[in-house]
Symmetry: C2
C-alpha cells in the first residue's frame, strides 16, 4: 500500500513539475503561486497518507499477531520495521525529481548594515514580475529561515520528515498524559521510594557515567575528539538514559506480570522520561548560559545548572499538579457534569493547556502533563460523569496508541529520509556499549542500596528484569531530533535512532523470553495476589510483594502523603467522605462549609466506596479496563463494557489467571 502511495506521489510530482516549468506570461505569477501552493498541499497529504498507511498496516499486523498468539514481535517493533522498509523505498527508489528550485543570493549591496553573528530570520527578495505590456513590477517576497544545507535536499524526502516541534507539541503530550492518567497509583505510591531512587538518582548517575565513558572513548578516536566536548557527551548520556515504558508495559499487561514489578518498571520509566528531559535542558543551559568559555569545570556554573534542574523540575511538577487540582475544583463546584460533552472538552483542554503553560514559561511540558495526568486520575476522575470517565479514558487510550505507533514508524522512516544523519561507526559502537553499561549502573548498585533499607527486598531476578526492560524509546528520539545543528548532534541522533530501533525490536521481542528465564511470575492478578499470596507462588526467592497484604509496612513517605491526601486533598477536590467539616479544625468551620458540596454531605458510604480511590476500588477498575481493552472482549466480559460494571468485571477477572503463557 505504501508502495502505491509512492507511485501516486511520484506521478503527481512529475505532473506538477511539468506545469511549473511551462513558460507563461508574467501576469500569471499569481496563478502559478496558486499551483505551487496546491502542489505543497498534495505533498503534505501524501506524506500524512504514508504514515496513515503505515499505521493501518501495523494495526492489521498486530491483530494477526494477537489473533495467532505470536509474541516474538511487539507492535512498536512492527511499526519500526515497517517504517524502515518504507524509508528505504523512499530513499533508494526515487533518485530523481528534485522539484525544488533554489537560487543562491547575497545581501543587497547597499543593505550591508546586517552585522549579527546569526543568520537573519527572514530574507526579502525583490522579484521582477513582467506585466503583459512589457513593463515589469517588482514584488517583494519573504523567505523564512529553515536551517543549514546538507547534501541531499529533495522535496519528497524533506516532506517525509516532520518538524521536530511536532513531537513536543502533538505526539508526546498524549503519550505522557496517558501514562500518568493510567498509572496504578496504589502500587506506585507503595513503591514510591524505590521508583524515585531509580528515576531521580539512577538516571542522573547513568547520564554522568555514560557521558564520562563516551568522552573517554571519543578521545581514542582522533576524528571525533575535536568535534565533541564533554558537555556534548554528557548531553548524549542524558538523552539515552530514559527508558521507554510502552513496549514492556503492554507485554506485562498481556501476561499479567506481578504488580509490584509492573509498578517498578512503569513508574521508573515514566519518571525517568521526566528527569531526562529536565536534565538535558539543564546541561544545555549550562553550556549556553553559565560557562565562561574556558571549557573546564566551574563550580559556580555547575551549581547554577543544578539549581536549574531542581527549579524546572519542581515548578513543572507544581504547574501540572495545580492545573489538575483546578480541573478537579471546576468539575466539583460547577454542574458541568450535566453536559458530558462539555465536561470532556473541558478536561481535554485543561490538560493540554497544562502542557502549553509549562512550555511557554520555559519549563518542561512533559513533566507538567505527567503530574497533571496523575492528579486528574486521582481527583478529577471522581467528579466526572460516567459518560466523561469512559470518554476520556478511551480517548487518551486511542490517542496514546496512535501517537506511540506513529512515533515508532517515524523513527523507522527517518532513519533513511532525515537529511541530517551522520553515521559514525566508532560513535555508534561506543553508544551501544555505554547505553548498556549506563543501565547496569542504574539498576544494580541502587538495588543493592535500596535492599539495605527496604523490608521486602527487591530480588535479583527482578533486578535482571529491570535491567532488561531498559529499552530506549520515544523520549530519547525526540530529544535527539530536537536539535541537529552540529555534527556532534547529528552523530548523536543517528546513534540514538539505532539504539532505539535495536532495543525495541530485540529487547522488546525477547521480553517474554526474559520473563521465563528469570522465573518472573506471570498470569498473576493483583486481586488474587493480595488474597492468596502464599498459595500462588510456592517456588523462587521472592521476598517482595508480601507487603501488599499488610498495610502497616507501607513506606513512611507513602503513609504521610496518604494521610494528608485522605484528610484534606480529597475532601477539598472531590465529593468523597470524610468531608472537610470532619477533618478541618473547628475554627475553619465556615470555610469548610463553603468547600463541601451538598452531594458530598448526602451521599452514602456505598457511593463513597465507588468514587474514592484511596482504597482498592478505582485502581482496580482502571487496571481492569486497561488490561481488558486489548484483550479479547468476548472472553472476559461478554458484551459488557468493563468500565460500566466494575463489580462484574472484578468478579470475572480471576477466571483469566494463568490462561496466558
Amino acid at each position: 500500500m505504501a508502495d502505491s502511495a509512492m507511485t501516486v506521489r511520484y506521478a503527481v510530482v512529475v505532473t506538477i513539475g511539468v506545469f511549473l516549468l511551462k513558460s507563461c506570461s508574467g501576469e500569471e505569477t499569481d496563478i502559478k503561486l496558486d499551483k505551487k501552493a496546491q502542489l505543497l498541499h498534495r505533498l503534505d497529504s501524501l506524506n500524512l497518507l504514508l504514515y496513515t498507511f503505515l499505521l493501518i498496516l501495523t494495526v492489521l499486523t498486530i491483530w494477526t499477531f494477537k489473533h495467532r498468539r505470536l509474541r516474538f514481535l511487539h507492535e512498536t517493533g512492527l511499526a519500526v520495521i515497517y517504517g524502515l522498509i518504507v524509508g528505504a523505498i523512499i530513499r533508494y527508489g526515487f533518485t530523481n525529481s528534485s522539484t525544488i528550485v533554489h537560487m543562491p543570493v547575497v545581501p543587497e549591496p547597499d543593505g550591508s548594515h546586517y552585522n549579527q553573528s546569526v543568520p537573519p530570520d527572514t530574507l526579502w527578495l525583490r522579484f521582477p514580475e513582467s506585466k503583459g505590456d512589457g513593463t515589469t513590477k517588482n514584488k517583494t517576497f519573504a523567505y523564512s529561515f529553515r536551517g543549514e544545507i546538507y547534501k541531499r535536499d529533495n522535496e519528497i524526502d524533506l516532506k517525509a520528515t516532520f518538524d521536530p516541534e511536532i513531537f513536543f507539541n502533538i505526539i508526546l503530550p498524549p503519550i505522557i498524559f496517558h501514562a500518568g492518567y493510567s498509572l496504578k497509583r496504589k502500587y506506585f505510591f507503595r513503591n514510591l521510594g524505590a521508583i524515585l531512587t531509580y528515576a531521580l538518582i539512577g538516571t542522573t548517575i547513568s547520564s554522568f557515567v555514560i557521558g564520562a565513558l563516551m568522552y573517554t572513548f571519543i578521545q581514542l578516536i582522533p576524528h571525533l575528539a575535536s568535534s565533541f566536548t564533554f558537555l556534548d557527551t554528557l548531553y548524549f548520556g542524558a538523552l539515552i538514559s530514559p527508558t521507554d515504558p510502552l513496549t514492556i508495559i503492554s507485554i506485562f499487561n498481556d501476561l499479567h506480570v506481578d504488580v509490584n514489578l509492573y509498578a517498578l518498571v512503569f513508574g521508573e520509566s515514566v519518571l525517568n522520561d521526566a528527569v531526562a528531559i529536565v536534565l538535558s535542558g539543564s546541561i544545555q543551559n549550562y553550556a549556553e548560559r553559565y560557562q565562561s568559555g574556558s571549557g573546564g569545570f566551574e563550580t559556580w556554573a555547575f551549581f547554577q545548572a543544578l539549581g536549574d534542574f531542581i527549579r524546572i523540575f519542581s515548578l513543572s511538577l507544581f504547574i501540572g499538579a495545580t492545573m489538575g487540582c483546578v480541573t478537579a475544583l471546576l468539575t466539583k463546584f460547577t454542574r458541568v457534569r450535566d453536559f458530558p460533552l462539555l465536561e470532556s472538552a473541558l478536561f481535554v483542554l485543561m490538560s493540554y493547556s497544562t502542557f502549553l503553560i509549562a512550555e511557554a514559561s520555559d519549563l518542561t511540558g512533559v513533566v507538567a502533563v505527567l503530574f497533571c495526568g496523575i492528579c486528574q486520575a486521582h481527583y478529577t476522575y471522581n467528579n466526572l460523569s460516567v459518560d466523561s470517565r469512559q470518554r476520556t479514558k478511551q480517548l487518551f487510550e486511542l490517542l496514546n496508541f496512535l501517537a506511540e505507533n506513529f512515533i515508532f514508524s517515524y523513527i523507522g522512516v527517518s532513519m533513511f529520509t532525515f537529511p541530517k544523519h551522520h553515521f559514525d561507526p566508532g560513535f555508534i559502537f561506543a553508544g551501544f556499549f555505554c547505553a548498556l553499561l549506563g543501565r547496569a549502573v542504574n539498576v544494580y548498585p541502587l538495588s543493592f542500596l535500596l535492599n539495605l533499607g527496604r523490608n521486602p527486598k527487591i530480588p535479583s531476578n527482578y533486578q535482571h528484569m529491570l535491567f532488561c526492560a531498559g529499552l530506549r524509546g520515544a523520549m530519547s528520539f525526540a530529544l535527539a531530533i530536537r536539535n541537529t545543528v552540529s555534527d556532534a548532534r547529528q552523530a548523536m541522533l543517528t546513534t540514538t535512532s539505532l539504539i532505539v530501533i535495536l532495543t525495541v525490536i530485540l529487547q522488546g521481542g525477547a521480553t517474554t523470553q526474559f520473563l521465563s528465564w528469570f522465573n518472573i511470575p506471570v498470569g498473576v492478578d493483583e486481586e488474587v495476589e493480595v488474597l492468596s499470596y502464599n498459595g500462588v507462588r510456592s517456588g523462587g526467592s521472592l521476598s517482595m510483594g508480601g507487603s501488599t497484604s499488610k498495610t502497616n509496612e507501607k513506606a513512611l513517605l507513602a503513609r504521610i502523603w496518604g494521610n494528608f491526601d485522605t484528610h484534606y486533598m480529597k475532601p477539598l477536590l472531590t465529593h468523597s467522605r470524610p468531608t472537610l467539616l470532619d477533618t478541618l479544625p473547628v475554627c475553619c468551620g465556615p470555610l469548610a462549609r463553603i468547600l463541601t458540596t451538598t452531594q458530598q454531605m448526602t451521599q452514602d458510604n456505598v457511593a463513597r466506596r465507588v468514587d474514592s480511590d484511596s482504597d482498592l476500588c478505582l485502581e482496580d477498575r482502571d487496571t481492569d479496563r486497561r488490561r481488558t481493552s486489548i484483550q479479547p472482549l468476548g472472553t472476559v466480559t461478554g458484551e459488557v463494557s468493563p468500565g460500566q460494571q466494575p463489580l462484574h468485571t472484578r468478579v470475572a477477572l480471576p477466571g483469566l489467571i494463568g490462561r496466558h503463557l
Copy 2:
C-alpha cells in the same frame, strides 16, 4: 486568561530579544540558533495556549448559558466573540517588539541563470561565521518561500495565524466526517430529492447569481472594477454559497425540531459544503487551465470546467464510499472486533486515509470523507464491537466540538491578526446583499418547483426557516483563507469573515425567535411523530411529514436504493439478514457462501433488528445519543450511558417531549 497569556508572551519575547541582540563570538552561532529554535517553540506554545484558553472560556460560558437556559447566543457565536476580543487585544495592545530580523537580498551576480516567472522555492544564503581564531567559515543556510510581503510583519501576529492548510488537513475532516457519521440516514434518504435539489442545483444557481450580481456591483465602483474579473466574483459566489449546519443543528437538537425540517436543513448544508468546495475548485481550474486568455466566455472551456466538476465530485464520492465499504469488509471478515482498541484505531485511520487519498489524487477530501462517514455509519458501524461503537461516536463528537469551536475562535482572532485583510466597504456591502439574495434564489424558486412534483409539500414557513438557516460558516472561511495572493482574494477573505461573523452571531442567536415566528413545531420527538402524528400537531398549515407514517410514499430514488441496499450491500458488508445466500441468484451460490459469515447465518432475528439500520432501530439510537449527550444526562437516563441501553433510552425519551421551550 488570554490577557495573562499575552503578558507572558510579551515578557518572553523581550527576554529572548535581548539574548539575540547580545554580541557573541562567532563560534557560538550554533548555540544561538538553538536559542532561536527555543524561542520559536515558545511562541508556538503561546499561540496554541491562546486558542486553548479561548476554548476553555467558551466551554465554561456555554455551560453557564445552558445551565441558565439562555438561548440568545450560541456556542459558535460565543467562540467568535471571544476570538474578536482577543484578536483586538493582540492587534492594538502590542505595537512594538518586532523581533524578526530581515535582510534584503539580491540574486548572486554569477548565478543569474534563474529565468522563471515565479519566485524560487528556496533561497541559499552563504553566511560568514567567524571562528574564534579570527578566520571565517562560510555556512550555507536555506530559506523557504513564505509569500508576498505586506505592511505588517510582526512575529506575534504571524504566529497567531495558522497555515491555511491546517484547516483542510486537520480541522475540517473531523467536522465533515462527524456530519456524515451522525446523519439521520432514514430522514435523509426520505427527503433525498429535495436535499439534492437544494444542494446541487441550488448552490450552483446561488453561486452564479451572486457572481453575476457582484460583478455588476463592482462595475459601479471604479477602483474595484480593474482588480476583479468575472471569475473572481464567481469564485466569491461559490465560496459564500455553502451554509453552515453547526449552529442551527445544535439548536434544532436542543429544541427537538420536526425531523423532516431537520433533515432538510442538515442534509442540505452538509451537501452544499461538498458542492461548494468542488465548484470553487472547478472555477479555479477554469481560470488556470482552460481559458485561453481572452477573458470572454468560451464554450469549450466552460464544458471542460463542467466536466471537471462532475468528475471531481463523483470520483471523490466514489473514493469515500469505497473506503467506507473496505472498512466494513475489514471489520466483517476479520475478528479485529475482539480487540476494540485496534478496531477503533483501524476505523479512525481508514477514515482519515480516505481524506488523504482524495486530496493526494487532486480530488476533494471533504467530499470523500463525508460519504465515507455516511458509509461507515450505514455499514461498518453494525460490525463494530459495542466498545468501538461508543468510542468512535464519542471521539468524533468531541473532535467535532473542539474543531468547530476552534475554527470560530480563529475566525474572530484572525479578523484582527491575519496580515492579509483588505477592507473595502463597497465590496463588503455588496457581499452582504448578494449573500442574502443568493440564499433567497436558492430556497424559494426551488421549493416552488419541488412542490409541483412533491406529494407532501414543503410549507412556506419551512421555506422561510430554510432561508433563515442560511448561516455562513467554516467552509466559506476555509475556502476564502486558502488563497490570499491577490488583492481581490484578500477583499473576499475580509468580506467572507465579516459575513460569517455576523450571520453566526445574529442569525444563530435569533434561531429560537425565527422558530416561534414561523410557527415551526418544536419539542417533537420523531418516535412520537410517527406514532401519533395527528394528535400532536393540531394547528398550522403543515402538509409535510405526514409521509413518515406511510412508507409507500417514499421517493422513487430512495425506494430503488433501499431495495438494492437491503438485498445486496448490507448482506455483503455487514452481518445482517437476509444473507447473500437468500438474495443472490442460485448460480452465484459458492460466491455467496464465501461472503456470508457464520455469525450472519446463526444470529436470530432479534440480533438482526438491533444491528440493522434499514428500519428505525439504529437511527433512533444514534439520534438519541447525539441528542442526549448535550442534554442533562441525569434527567434523561440517570447514570446509564444512552448508547449501552438503546431500549431503555427509547422508552425514556418520550418523557422529554415539549419540555423545552
